[in-house]
Symmetry: C2
Subunit: 143 residues, 2 copies
């Protein structure tokens, strides 16, 4: 189990990170993801980090790299499921997820990607309830 | 990271199993899933086992239990992403995933759940390409 599965939903690729990332796993994920984007013509990548207790500079850099590579391949990356504590630590440490967009959860991520590329992905979120959240659910971390 | 994240997409809950399951993890997953089904009024559960190289009787029983509990709560369970080798081993060992439905991948799983509860989930699969697969992509394992 050294590879993180990449799930395809419509034109979106979904990755749920649950294992501790090391160099090898990160590189493998990057390779696999790049290949899948090209193979499936995906226009969006959602990376779920619900399971992560810590996002250090290594993970941060990995997310930024994935976002940059995806962008070159015409796919946008959204990181979802960040825990409040992780968000606070990120800001306190001054870590910026360069070029990475974030959303509260997978549904919001799908919405975000749907808005930017309305064609087909939009229909993916048609049936989704708008929960009682308001305010800034999504933000672009750039520096 | 002792809990497996449960992602919500519309009225479907999505679980991607990537870690080795032990008693503790399996029980925690079962508890979390049951709670989430009630909280979110989900009508379907998709369990992705792409990352699993082996499905032994322990995992098989866990999947069956999850399916049974979910059914009591009016949610159908679909297992997706089973590797060919896993399928062969299951049959050879005579392990039956009692009451568990299977589909080739997440998209097929969403379609399957959409067909059975057409209301809202159907819109989730509207935009999804029909890949060049045919034949029996889905099957109900019962015994």
């Amino acid at each position: 189990m050294d590879r993180i599965p990449i799930l395809k939903i419509g034109e979106i690729l979904l990755v749920s990170i649950q294992v501790d990332m090391d160099d090898h796993t990160a590189l493998a994920l990057q390779d696999d993801l790049t290949e899948r984007i090209v193979d499936t013509h995906a226009h969006g990548v959602i990376i779920d980090i619900t399971a992560l207790d810590i996002v250090d500079s290594f993970i941060g850099r990995m997310l930024s790299t994935i976002a940059s590579v995806s962008r070159v391949l015409d796919a946008e990356t959204v990181v979802v499921g960040m825990r409040p504590a992780v968000a606070i630590t990120l800001v306190e440490l001054g870590l910026s997820l360069t070029g990475v967009r974030t959303a509260l959860n997978v549904e919001r991520g799908l919405e975000l990607l749907g808005r930017n590329a309305p064609a087909r992905a939009a229909s993916l979120t048609d049936g989704i309830d708008d929960d009682a959240h308001s305010g800034t659910d999504t933000a672009a971390f750039t520096s």
